[in-house]
């Protein structure tokens, strides 16, 4: 709150030492996590033999695809002011629906059915948390149970095996030296970033999460925007589910596992705010790769993977704490 801003004739301030320090802190807040990722990358390159090999890096990238897709859509939703705890359950339902539809009518129908299932369940979340006025955490916690139950019912609690081996092509086709699953992830991440930064819907997403009352009083259909975020999150979970099924050609109801928590962890590690109205896809991507590198590094160095979870937790606390401190110093 500077009085200087009021008077356009005031000459620009001299750059003082404290201002330079302030700029440095701001830079640290904005890009600290990226710097951390680079350092992690260098350390892993130096301490292990295999990390820097093209094969290993492609694997790391490909293993991040499912989490990454869910996390990118989750970022859009969190910026809009929503939160989806049920993405893991939607992931399972869509994978099962996709597998069954493939067996019944072929891979194309299977993919469409899987995505439609994801979008449909996302819409249920969206309606519940907007028109239904249910709190986002409570609503999607409830539907995560319901959808997980739905996955068990649909699968008959048994393993479903896809008979048509061509379903592998969804994730396993080679394109420009990377797998098609990786390509899908890249395209999806770019699409989410463009949506947020270049479109009217994107501006309305930031507005809805940033100040819901101001957004409404500016003619933004907040409910529609938030519901859209849930549909995107559901569809992304469905896409991720289909990709995972495509790798193994088999699926059961426990496929969802803890993927939603890993995705949320990636969003937070990247430095996005859980409060909405702020954030960026690149942050989430950095978060995804930091988590993937940690996991890979533990693996390559032969360290007990149990410690991985402790480290991940520590990094989340650090990232969220840094965000809170940054907010405090801004007020």
């Amino acid at each position: 709150m500077s009085g200087l801003a009021l008077d356009p004739t005031t000459p620009p301030q001299k750059v003082t030492a404290s201002k330079r320090v302030g700029n440095f802190l701001k830079l640290g807040r904005d890009y600290g996590i990226a710097a951390f990722a680079v350092i992690l990358f260098v350390v892993l390159s130096l301490t292990t033999n295999n990390f820097l090999s093209g094969q290993n890096l492609r694997n790391v990238l490909d293993q991040s695809v499912a989490v990454g897709i869910i996390a990118c859509a989750g970022t859009v939703l969190i910026i809009a002011g929503g939160f989806d705890l049920s993405a893991g359950a939607i992931f399972a339902v869509a994978a099962i629906v996709g597998a069954k539809a493939t067996n019944a009518a072929g891979p194309e129908v299977g993919i469409i059915a899987g995505l439609a299932a994801g979008a449909g369940l996302g819409l249920i979340n969206g309606l519940l948390c907007t028109v239904g006025r249910v709190n986002h955490f409570v609503g999607t916690l409830a539907t995560s149970f319901a959808f997980a139950g739905l996955a068990t019912i649909l699968s008959g609690a048994s393993l479903i095996i896809i008979a048509d081996a061509s379903f592998v092509d969804l994730a396993g086709t080679k394109l420009f030296g990377i797998k098609s699953s990786t390509a899908i992830f890249i395209v999806f991440a770019v699409a989410c970033a463009v949506l947020l930064n270049r479109t009217i819907v994107g501006r309305h997403i930031f507005a809805s999460g940033g100040n819901v009352r101001a957004a409404r009083l500016s003619g933004v259909s907040v409910n529609r925007i938030v519901a859209f975020g849930y549909v995107l999150s559901g569809t992304a979970a469905g896409l991720a589910g289909l990709i995972v099924v495509s790798r193994t050609l088999s699926v059961n109801d426990s496929v969802g596992g803890s993927i939603v928590f890993t995705a949320i962890a990636a969003i937070l590690v990247g430095g996005n705010s859980v409060l909405g109205g702020e954030g960026a896809i690149w942050r989430t991507l950095v978060g995804v790769f930091v988590l993937a590198m940690i996991s890979n590094g533990f693996n390559l160095n032969g360290i007990d993977p149990l410690y991985e979870q402790v480290i991940t937790g520590g990094i989340i606390v650090f990232a969220v704490g840094a965000d809170a401190w940054a907010r405090r110093s801004r007020t």
Binding site: S2, G3, A5, Q13, L25, R198, R216
Partner: protein, 509 residues
């Protein structure tokens, strides 16, 4: 005015501040302030928005930490790390924005952080007894069990005052305590503040209202650009002298006069029998192109509610809204926007702006469709439109990528106007056009309103500052308890006539 307390040689001042500085991310809000606060006085701090007066108040109360400088309490240096340590030292703060637990009772809020306990359990009887004492001594009528969220702002303010009193604060910092109060309530508050002073409490009073400061304070400090310009006995100052000191140049608030004569045209927007049960009843209004209608009334008379209803923000129970003589459906603000209606809300922080986003994003929000193709925003068009709007508002265009919360109150308010300016509405409803805005920005906003009206926009302004209504409006509509009690052309709209109507009195010629 307590001028006799000015000199007590040898007495240690309750607080001394030396070389106090504070910068936020490289911006210096306070640049070396020295203050001496004498015991048992009312010490006002005035200045434009962004002069640093609120920041000084907050540092004194431990809400924010100084970057440099020292604070002496009773002659000893203290480090007020948090509101808690400040309260323990007898310094309390009443914030500009009320800090309340809205879902808890009045009693819980008054004793928040200061609960009476016995063996670790809350002692409700003791608290209730103390509450009775406090209300008796202040003369407030408040039910201890009411949920704070259900109270009007003025009553919530009383809770805040009781809270400071309950903490036995020796020094209370009040930041714009009367901003949300109407005239009568302000008078009550003044009375209370004087009584507290006479009982030995020291008050630091940060305010925009200079008349109020002059009638209340013993000492006035004027700040500008983070520095103290002068500290003088209030008895020797006048509104003009304070404004001059504040601005460093002479600037009288003048209202831009109407240039083109009013034409008798058909109304752009009309309301017929608009009723929302419990809020307002049978509202008939006509807003004509080029005309500024002032909607006056006491706080709580239903003024803002009418504006919100005309904008589709709240549903109505009966009545209709017409644009160009044709009835329209207003289910949400989106419908209103489609019909070219704009609402500049009362609270820019709650209803107006995304405080953590850039100026450009805020300004572009409504009119974005014009700078987009196929749903994609054309960055160039968006940037150009933002710069044009900022120039028109005389906000430095270099500010367009700044986060709104880093702007001064005046510039924030201009951004709020800019959002609708870019949209070019046909009808503009403005609720409190200059709340929390400094003198310079005020004048710019008045000129803008007049200019927009001259260009043919139908304007309605709601204001608690009667001066603003009298200075700007071509016609004044007065509300009292949810009903319109007067509809006066500018020539008949005197202060007396408006006040009589606002209080529901029959007009006495």
């Amino acid at each position: 005015m307590g001028a006799d307390t000015t000199s007590e040689p040898g007495a240690i001042p309750i607080m001394e501040v030396r070389g106090l500085r504070k910068s936020f991310g490289g911006v210096h809000a306070v640049r070396g302030v020295d203050l001496t606060i004498r015991r048992g006085t009312i010490h006002a701090i005035v200045g434009e928005n962004g002069a640093g007066k609120s920041t000084v108040g907050k540092m004194i109360a431990g809400v924010i930490r100084p970057s440099a400088g020292e604070i002496l309490l009773d002659g000893r240096e203290v480090h007020l790390h948090s509101p808690r340590t400040a309260i323990d030292s007898g310094v309390a703060m009443m914030d500009q924005e009320l800090a309340m637990l809205s879902a808890r009772s009045v009693l819980d809020n008054v004793f928040l952080g200061n609960e009476t306990s016995r063996h670790g359990m809350l002692d409700l009887n003791a608290q209730s007894a103390r509450f009775e004492e406090l209300t008796a001594s202040t003369g407030f009528v408040l039910d201890a069990k009411t949920i704070v969220g259900a109270l009007c702002v003025a009553d919530q303010q009383k809770v805040e005052i009781l809270r400071a009193a309950a903490r036995d604060a020796r020094l209370i910092v009040m930041d714009e305590p009367t901003a949300a109060l109407d005239g009568d309530e302000s008078k009550h508050l003044h009375e209370l503040i004087r009584r507290m002073r006479d009982a030995g409490t020291t008050i630091i009073f940060v305010s925009h209202f200079l008349e109020e400061v002059l009638s209340l304070a013993d000492t006035v400090t004027v700040m500008r650009d983070g520095l103290v310009i002068q500290t003088t006995p209030a008895s020797g100052e006048s509104v003009e002298s304070l404004v001059n000191a504040m601005l460093g140049r002479s600037l009288e608030i003048t209202f831009p006069p109407r240039v083109a004569p009013l034409k008798d045209t058909d109304p752009t927007l009309e309301a017929r029998g608009l009723t929302s049960i419990g809020r307002f009843e049978g509202i008939d209004l006509a807003l004509r192109p080029g005309e500024i209608v002032g909607l006056a009334g006491l706080v709580g008379s239903g003024r803002s509610e009418v504006a919100r209803a005309l904008f589709g923000a709240d549903p109505v129970d009966a009545g209709s809204v017409l644009i160009d003589g044709k009835p329209i459906r207003l289910r949400s603000p989106k419908d209103a926007v489609r019909h070219g209606i704009a609402l500049v809300p009362e609270s820019r922080k709650d209803d107006g702006l995304m405080m953590l986003r850039s100026v450009r994003e805020n300004i572009g929000l409504v009119a974005l469709r014009r700078h987009a193709r196929g749903g994609f925003v054309r960055s160039r068009a968006d940037r150009v439109a933002t710069s044009t709007t900022l120039e028109r508002l005389s906000v430095p265009t270099a500010r367009s990528e700044s986060v709104v919360s880093t702007l001064s109150g005046g510039n924030q308010q201009k951004v709020l106007f800019g959002k609708w300016l870019m949209f070019e509405p046909r009808v503009m409803l403005v609720d409190e056009p200059t709340r929390g805005v400094d003198v310079g920005a005020k004048r710019a906003i008045y000129e803008l309103i007049r200019e927009l009206a001259e260009d043919g926009m139908a304007m309605m302004i709601i204001s608690s500052e009667l001066e603003e209504i009298l200075g700007l409006a071509d016609r004044v509509v007065v509300m009292h308890r949810g009903r319109i009690t007067a509809n006066l052309p500018a020539a008949e709209a005197t202060e007396k006539a408006i006040l009589q109507a606002a209080f529901g009195m029959e007009p006495q010629p």
